[in-house]
C-alpha cells in the first residue's frame, strides 16, 4: 500500500492581500522545486507528478528543468498535470510507490502562492491513505482557455449555493471530514468543524498543505479537496506518520518594485543547451589537478570536457550591488551578489531572491536556491539565486539544531 513518507512545503516570504505572493523570479516550476527538495531531502524517485494550473510552458515542456532543479535523474518520468486541489489529491492517492507529487500555485489569478510536495513510497511506517468518494461537476465560474485569458462569472452566490455545498449534498454522508482543501476557511469550518486546518493556498498545493497539517497533528479522517464544484477525497487511516519539512519563512511586506517594458531579451538556445546541466544542477567542473571552476571550463592539456561535481549551496557574500535604474524586462530594484561558497573556493554570481534588495551586505550568509533567472524571448531561463539567511537562522544549515519538522530554509545542501 502506498504511503506518504515525507511532505515538504514552501511559501514565498512576501505577504499579499489574500496570502503569499510569488517573487518576480518564481514560477510554478521554481515553487515546485523548493517544496519538492524539502520532501525529497536527497532521496531519488522514479516519477514526479506536478499538479498546477500555471504550467509555464504548454509546449516546450518543463520536465528536464523540474528534474534538474530537484536533483533527480533525467531518466525519471514527469507528469505535468493540469488541475487544482482535487487533482493533486487524486495524484497522491493514485501514486505508485517511488512518486513525488507536487502541487504548485503561483497566485496567477490573485490567489495565494505556495507549493507542497508528498513523497509516496512503500516503506512501512509512512502515512497511510486511500482514495475516498469523488464527484466531477461542471460549474465553471472561473474559466481559462488556451488563450490564457481568465473569465470570471460575476455571481458569487451561484458557486456558494450550487457549487461545493450542492456537491457535498449529492455525495451524502462523509466519514469524519477533517480538512478541506480548495475552499474558503468558512467552507472548511462548515464541512469539517472548527478544528479544520487553515491552509495557506487554495489551488493544487492546498491538498498537500492539508496532508502536512494532518501529518503534524496526527489526526485521522477524510480530507476533502474541492475544485470549484468538483470534489475528491482521501481517507487517512490514522496509521503511520510522515515527516514534514516546511520552508516557510514569516511573511513580510513585498518591497516596492517596478517593471519596465522593453524589447524581448534575446536567447541563444545552443548556449542554453550547453550550459543546462551545470547551470540547473549547480555543478562545477573539476580539472585533472582537482581545481574547481564554475562555470565549468574545458581542460587545457587535452581539451577534454571537465568532470562535473556538485557544489555546496551555502556561502557568504563577497561583494554586492543593488541595481536601482529601470532595466527593460526586469523588476527593479534588484541586487546581485558574488557569493563565496563554503569550503570549495568557488564563487557564484547570482541575483538575490526572497530578500529586500537594499538589505544585502558583504559578509551576509545565505544559500543558493533554484529560481527563474529571466524570461528570454518567451523561454523561461532557470538557474540559481542567492537567498540570504534570516538573522536568527543558524549559520550552518546542517547543524543538528535544525529539526526535520521545522526546516526553516529551503534547498538544503544537496548530497553530492
Amino acid at each position: 500500500m502506498p504511503q506518504i513518507e515525507s511532505i515538504g512545503s514552501y511559501l514565498p516570504p512576501w505577504a499579499g492581500r489574500a496570502g503569499r505572493i510569488a517573487g518576480p523570479d518564481e514560477d510554478a516550476i521554481t515553487l515546485a522545486v523548493a517544496a519538492g527538495r524539502e520532501a525529497l531531502n536527497g532521496r531519488e524517485v522514479d516519477r514526479v507528478v506536478l499538479v498546477t494550473r500555471d504550467h509555464p510552458l504548454i509546449e516546450g515542456g518543463s520536465a528536464a528543468v523540474l528534474l534538474a532543479g530537484l536533483g533527480l535523474s533525467p531518466g525519471a518520468e514527469v507528469v505535468e498535470r493540469n488541475g487544482g486541489a482535487a487533482a493533486a489529491l487524486d495524484a497522491v492517492t493514485g501514486a505508485a510507490p517511488g512518486t513525488l507529487v507536487i502541487g504548485s500555485d503561483t497566485g496567477a489569478g490573485g490567489e495565494p502562492a505556495g507549493a507542497a510536495a508528498a513523497l509516496v513510497t512503500d516503506a512501512p511506517g509512512g502515512l497511510e491513505l486511500q482514495a475516498g468518494v469523488r464527484m466531477a461537476r461542471s460549474l465553471p465560474v472561473r474559466a481559462r482557455g488556451a488563450d490564457g485569458v481568465t473569465h470570471d462569472y460575476d455571481d458569487p452566490r451561484l458557486l456558494r449555493d450550487r457549487g461545493l455545498a450542492e456537491t457535498l449534498r449529492r455525495v451524502g454522508e462523509i466519514a469524519k471530514p477533517v480538512a478541506l482543501a480548495g475552499g474558503t476557511a468558512a467552507q472548511a469550518r462548515s464541512a469539517c468543524g472548527d478544528t479544520a486546518p487553515e491552509l495557506p493556498t487554495v489551488g493544487a498545493s492546498a491538498s498537500l498543505f492539508a496532508l502536512a497539517a494532518l501529518a503534524e497533528s496526527g489526526a485521522g479522517g477524510t480530507v476533502l479537496a474541492a475544485d470549484q464544484a468538483s470534489l475528491s477525497s482521501a481517507v487517512l487511516t490514522g496509521s503511520g506518520a510522515a515527516v514534514v519539512r516546511r520552508a516557510e519563512r514569516a511573511a513580510r511586506p513585498a518591497p516596492a518594485s517596478r517593471r519596465t517594458d522593453g524589447p524581448p531579451i534575446p536567447i541563444s538556445l545552443p548556449a542554453y543547451d550547453r550550459a543546462f546541466t551545470p547551470k540547473l544542477t549547480l555543478h562545477a567542473g573539476r580539472s585533472a589537478d582537482g581545481t574547481l571552476t564554475f562555470p565549468p571550463r574545458r581542460g587545457l592539456t587535452d581539451g577534454s570536457e571537465p568532470e562535473l561535481v556538485a557544489l555546496p549551496r551555502t556561502g557568504s557574500v563577497y561583494t554586492t550591488t543593488m541595481i536601482n535604474v529601470p532595466v527593460p524586462g526586469m523588476a527593479t530594484p534588484y541586487a546581485l551578489v558574488i557569493a563565496e561558497l563554503d569550503d570549495v573556493g568557488v564563487r557564484v554570481l547570482a541575483r538575490v531572491t526572497g530578500w529586500e534588495a537594499d538589505r544585502v551586505a558583504i559578509g551576509d550568509r545565505g544559500r543558493l536556491v533554484f529560481r527563474r533567472v529571466a524570461v528570454r524571448s518567451g523561454i523561461p531561463d532557470y538557474g540559481y539565486a542567492f537567498l540570504p539567511d534570516e538573522p536568527d537562522e543558524p549559520g550552518e544549515p546542517d547543524e543538528p539544531g535544525l529539526s526535520d519538522v521545522s526546516g526553516s530554509g529551503e534547498n538544503e545542501e544537496q548530497s553530492a
Binding site: 534575446p266 541595481i323 546581485l336
Partner: protein
C-alpha cells in the same frame, strides 16, 4: 622598432549627437586631426588606418571609415577590444609604423551609443560583454559590472562614497573649460552624494553619460616627422592586458589585473616608471574606478587612492593631475573614441596648449579598462623622444 610620433590630433565634441550619424562624426574628427598638423598633412600621405569602434550603427566599420573619409586606396583594419578599443587602436597603429611597414598612419575611434533607444541599449551592449547563458540574463548592466568591484574595494580599502564624489567633482570641474566635453557644469560633493542611486555604490554623478563622438590621431615615423611638425609628441610605450572575463572567477576584485599587466608592458617599453608621469587620462567610467586605477597604475600604493583625492594630488596643480579633460565622467564616453580622445587631450597637454594645462608636462599616460573589467589598454606619451 622605429620611434613613432603623434603629428596631429582632433576630435568632435562628445555629446548626444542625435543630429549627426557616424558618417558625419568620422569626417569631422579626421578633418580636425589633419588640420592640427603644423605643416599640413595631405590625405594622400596616409598609408594605412586603424579604426576602433565597439558597436556599429551603419554597417561594417572599416568600410564606413574608408567611404566617409575618402580613404579608399589604403588598408583599414577595424579594432574592437571592449572599452579598451581606443588605446588598442592607437597601439595597432604604432606597431604599423614601428615595424617599418608604414610611415604615416591614421588612428580613428568612434561610437554612437545614443543611436539605440535607451531601453534597447541595455541588452544590446550587455550582449557584447557577457556570457550568453550564464551572466547575460542576470541583468549585470554596465554600472553593476564595475559596482561589484567598487563595493568590495570600499569594504577593504576604507575609502568611502565621499572619496568617489571627490573624483566626480574634480572631473566635472575640469570639463567646464573643455569645449569638447559633454557635461560642462560643476557639481558639489553634496550633489554627488545626494544624487539618485544607479547601482550601489554609484549614484548618478558617479557615472559616465552615454555619448556619441569620434576622435583621430595622425601617427608618423621618426624618419618623416620633420615633414609634418617641429613639435611632435612621442609615443613612448603601449600595453594591452587581459584578465578573467567572468567576475566570479576573478580572485581579487579590489584591483584590475588587466590594468597592471598593460601598465607593466607600457612602462617597460617606455623605460619609465609611474613616478615619471606628469599628467594622466584615466578610465573613470565610474568614479570609484578612477580610485582603483590610481593603485593599479602605480600612482598610489594599495588602498592609498583616497589620500590622493583628499590631498588634491590628482587635481590640476596637484602632484599627478588626472583627467584634466573632464575624463569619461564629464567629457563623455563613446567607447571606441574614448582612448583616442584621451590621446588627443594628452597631445595638447604635452605641447602646452591644453585648456587645463598641466605646467611643464613631459610624460603623459592614457588608460582604458573595459568590457567585463577584463581588458586594459595603455599609451604612454612623451614630449621627449626617449
Amino acid at each position: 622598432m622605429r620611434r613613432v610620433a603623434v603629428a596631429g590630433a582632433g576630435m568632435t565634441r562628445f555629446a548626444e549627437h542625435f543630429d549627426l550619424g557616424i558618417k558625419d562624426l568620422l569626417p569631422m574628427a579626421v578633418a580636425e586631426c589633419l588640420e592640427s598638423v603644423d605643416k599640413g598633412a595631405p590625405r594622400e600621405d596616409i598609408e594605412a588606418a586603424w579604426f576602433g569602434e565597439l558597436s556599429t550603427t551603419d554597417g561594417f566599420p572599416a568600410g564606413i571609415l574608408a567611404d566617409s573619409c575618402e580613404l579608399l586606396d589604403i588598408p583599414i583594419t577595424h579594432v574592437e577590444n571592449a572599452c579598451a578599443t581606443g588605446n588598442d587602436a592607437v597601439r595597432n597603429g604604432v606597431f604599423g609604423i614601428a615595424s617599418g611597414a608604414f610611415d604615416v598612419v591614421l588612428v580613428v575611434g568612434a561610437d554612437k551609443v545614443r543611436e539605440s533607444s535607451a531601453r534597447t541599449t541595455f541588452w544590446e551592449w550587455a550582449g557584447m560583454t557577457r556570457d550568453s547563458a550564464w551572466d547575460f540574463p542576470l541583468g549585470l548592466i554596465a554600472p553593476a559590472n564595475f559596482a561589484l568591484h567598487v563595493s568590495r574595494y570600499l569594504y577593504e580599502s576604507g575609502a568611502t562614497r565621499e572619496h568617489m564624489a571627490m573624483v566626480a567633482v574634480k572631473n566635472h570641474h575640469n570639463a567646464v573649460t573643455n569645449p569638447k566635453a559633454q557635461l560642462r557644469f560643476e557639481i558639489t560633493l553634496e550633489q554627488a552624494l545626494g544624487a539618485p542611486l544607479v547601482a550601489a555604490p554609484f549614484g548618478l554623478f558617479d557615472c559616465t553619460p552615454q555619448s556619441d563622438g569620434a576622435a583621430a590621431v595622425l601617427l608618423v615615423a621618426e624618419e618623416v616627422v620633420d615633414r609634418y611638425t617641429d613639435r611632435p609628441v612621442w609615443v613612448r610605450g603601449v600595453g594591452l592586458g587581459l584578465d578573467r572575463v567572468m567576475h566570479q572567477q576573478k580572485q581579487d576584485m579590489t584591483t584590475f589585473p588587466a590594468t597592471v599587466r598593460a601598465a607593466k608592458q607600457a612602462f617597460g617599453m617606455a623605460g619609465l616608471t609611474p613616478s615619471d608621469v606628469d599628467v594622466a587620462e584615466v578610465h573613470d567610467c565610474f568614479s570609484g574606478v578612477e580610485l582603483i586605477s590610481y593603485e593599479d597604475l602605480g600612482f598610489a600604493e594599495r588602498f592609498g587612492a583616497k589620500r590622493l583625492v583628499e590631498n588634491g594630488e590628482t587635481s590640476v596643480g596637484g602632484r599627478i593631475p588626472v583627467n584634466p579633460s573632464g575624463g569619461l565622467k564629464a567629457k563623455g564616453h563613446p567607447p571606441g573614441a574614448t582612448g583616442v580622445a584621451q590621446c588627443v587631450e594628452l597631445f595638447h597637454q604635452l605641447r602646452g596648449e591644453a585648456e587645463n594645462q598641466v605646467d611643464g608636462a613631459r610624460v603623459a599616460l592614457a588608460h582604458n579598462i573595459g568590457g567585463p573589467t577584463a581588458v586594459s589598454a595603455i599609451t604612454v606619451l612623451g614630449a621627449d623622444r626617449g
